[in-house]
Amino acid sequence: MPGPGMLSEERAALQRYEQMVFIRLFEDKVDALYRQGQVRGPAHLGQGQEAIAVGVGSVLQPGDYSIGTYRGHAHALARGTPAGAVLRELLGRSGGICGGKGGSMHITSLEHGYMGSYAIVGAHLPIACGLAWASKIKGTDQVTACFFGDGTTNIGAFHEAINLAAIWGLPVVFVCENNSYMEYTPISQVTSVPQPAADRAPAYGLPSVTVDGNDVDAVREVVGHAMETARGGGGPTLVEATTYRHGGHSAADPADYRSETEVASWKERDPLLRARAALAADGVSEEDLEVVTARASAETQQIATAALEAPALDVESALVGMWSDGSAQWRN
């Protein structure tokens, strides 16, 4: 644990660093398990983008909503979703967070306010509007954070959603994780403005701001401000966070459409290195930094071992749970 003399703000910063390290190691472990054939279906990993999930997660309050994409492990974990239940879901073992019915692309934790990962690009932006609309109708101070990728900015649902959020003044913060690639194709090749999200927002009267998405503190500051605006009735904001996907679009993608130079230059701007350097500059000892890394590593190993030992799912469960009463009958 951090040294006894550490200030609470430093302790919180160290905890955010630990969360980022944990998410990195979790994704590395998923990648390894994928290569062993243990992960069912695709796995879209987020190494390199951890500062956004953790930065946003750290300014969300309990009761707030967040919602994300098929690259959503980090967003679920950043809300406190149990990593063991996420990994079991990926492996199709009992104890998975969605009972083996969602898998990597649909990680959800209602208990933690993480209202789902959606695998049709753009689909969840209108849904995010609906979450925020409900908060507005009920008069709560809940805010919704909606994560999406740069590729989303060219599908219709994005435009319908940000227009609706703007005209209704919904308490939602749209967070674009611009990692430069829609999937395999550079976003710049298919978009005529340099900032695919932030440059579109003004056309809808939606305030937008850009931020270095590899700087967890910068993300916190920008998104935190947007959240407080939304919470206070000031309406939505769009944040475009610039980042980079260390791996391919999915674990199956070697990403050989990118130059080694480009990848190397971004790895120099690795958000974990940035956060670690900032903590060290603030006086956190190397020993404390190593402790959190070792703990995250041990925890990752422990949940992987437990997940691999978890029993298989009861296959009968496949045929129930379509309706809210637990049944799945469509006829009598």
């Binding site: 909503y65 998975g96 967070i97 969605c98 009972g99 083996g100 019915k101 969602g102 649909h106 959800t108 934790s109 209602l110 209202m115 789902g116 959606y118 049709i120 689909a123 969840h124 932006l125 209108p126 849904i127 995010a128 509007c129 609906g130 979450l131 925020a132 609309w133 409900a134 908060s135 109708i137 009920k138 219709g156 649902a157 319908e160 959603a161 227009n163 609706l164 005209i167 209704w168 749970g321 379509m322 309706w323 809210s324 009463d325 637990g326 799945a328 009958q329 469509w330 006829r331 009598n332």
Partner: protein, 334 residues
């Protein structure tokens, strides 16, 4: 009892449910002004803009917002002005709403209704006249109701709003002006229970929404041939009251399925398959279907009528079924 048009029955039921449950909110295009079909008339005035939300022409946003709000505990009723427009938001319906409860292991639920004007007969042409209930029937995870009369609109819409699962309500635009006695106060028709509107012993006529009226008129005409037709209003496609249809067909031995959607893969195909699988030996004649023709809907009155099911086609199908039934048909004719 009050005499209400089908459109007024929709508005009255929305109002009734909004008074009963403050979580019921409306979202859609032009609904504050009463709606293109006047099915939300007076609701903005009574409930105000915090319950009745006018939207841009953005069907994905409408249906997606309804979904998100339902996941957060509201019971939204979204209007899709013409059901043809489901094509612009089908991702939200078929990939999101229909799946989210199952694929999250039951964590999220969507107690919502999407309702709108379905079907033809008013000369709106190929993009505003389709009966598309069969689109929805291809997607597990959504319930489908389609009222055949004003009173049915009251009962089925109330049930849909109170249901904890997503329900698509296909109102028939050619019925909006029809008028009948509607029960006052609480009137809720359980989803999944077909109604026998006319008992009969010779042939079962099965309809949904506007084709129920065709079946009733056909049954009257068939009395002139001494054919005693049973008329069933299916009311809902999901849940499907297959048992109700099977029981009737086992008695009559003959069936005509009357559907407005194109027959090439309409709901009648699914019902026919159930009858073939489970009542084959009870059938005295092959299953007959009268459906929308497998072609886009034309505008000119005579042309549209030629495409949509008609009383004449139902009568002809029923007569054919009875005529080809061998000795039993002889008995009927005699």
């Amino acid at each position: 009892m009050a005499q209400l048009t089908y459109r007024a029955a929709v508005a009255a039921t929305l109002a009734h449910e909004m008074r009963r449950d403050e979580n019921v909110v409306l979202i859609g295009e032009d609904i504050g002004a009463g709606g293109v079909f006047k099915t939300t008339k007076g609701l903005l005035e009574e409930f105000g803009p915090t319950r009745v939300w006018d939207t841009p022409i953005s069907e994905q946003a409408i249906v997606g917002a309804a979904m998100g709000a339902s996941m957060a505990g509201l019971r939204p009723v979204a209007e899709i002005m013409f059901s043809d427009f489901y094509a612009t938001c089908w991702d939200q319906v078929a990939n999101e709403i229909a799946k989210v409860h199952y694929m999250t292991g039951g964590q999220l639920s969507c107690p919502l209704v999407v309702r709108g004007a379905n079907g033809g007969g008013l000369g709106f042409g190929a993009q505003h006249s389709q009966a598309v209930e069969n689109w929805a029937m291809c997607v597990p995870g959504i319930k489908i109701a389609s009222p055949s009369s004003a009173a049915e609109a009251v009962g089925l819409l109330a049930a849909a709003i109170r249901d904890d699962d997503p329900v698509l309500v296909f109102e028939h635009k050619a019925l909006y002006g029809s008028r009948e006695e509607c029960p006052d106060g609480e009137h809720v028709v359980a989803l999944g229970q077909a109604a026998v509107l006319r008992p009969g012993s010779d042939v079962t006529l099965v309809g949904l929404a506007a084709t129920v009226g065709l079946c009733r008129q056909a049954a009257e005409q068939l009395t002139g041939d001494s054919v005693d037709a049973e008329v069933i209003d299916l009311r809902t496609l999901v849940p499907l009251d297959a048992a109700g249809v099977l029981a009737s067909v086992r008695r009559t031995g003959r069936v005509v399925l009357v559907e407005e959607n194109p027959g090439q893969l309409g709901w009648g195909a699914g019902v026919a398959a159930i009858l073939a699988e489970e009542a084959f030996l009870d059938l005295r004649t092959p299953v007959a279907r009268v459906s929308g023709r497998n072609i886009p809907i034309p505008v000119a009155k005579g042309l549209e009528a030629a495409v949509n099911p008609s009383v004449e086609r139902v009568v002809a199908a029923a007569r054919s079924a009875c005529d080809t039934a061998g000795p039993a048909a002889e008995m009927i004719r005699n």
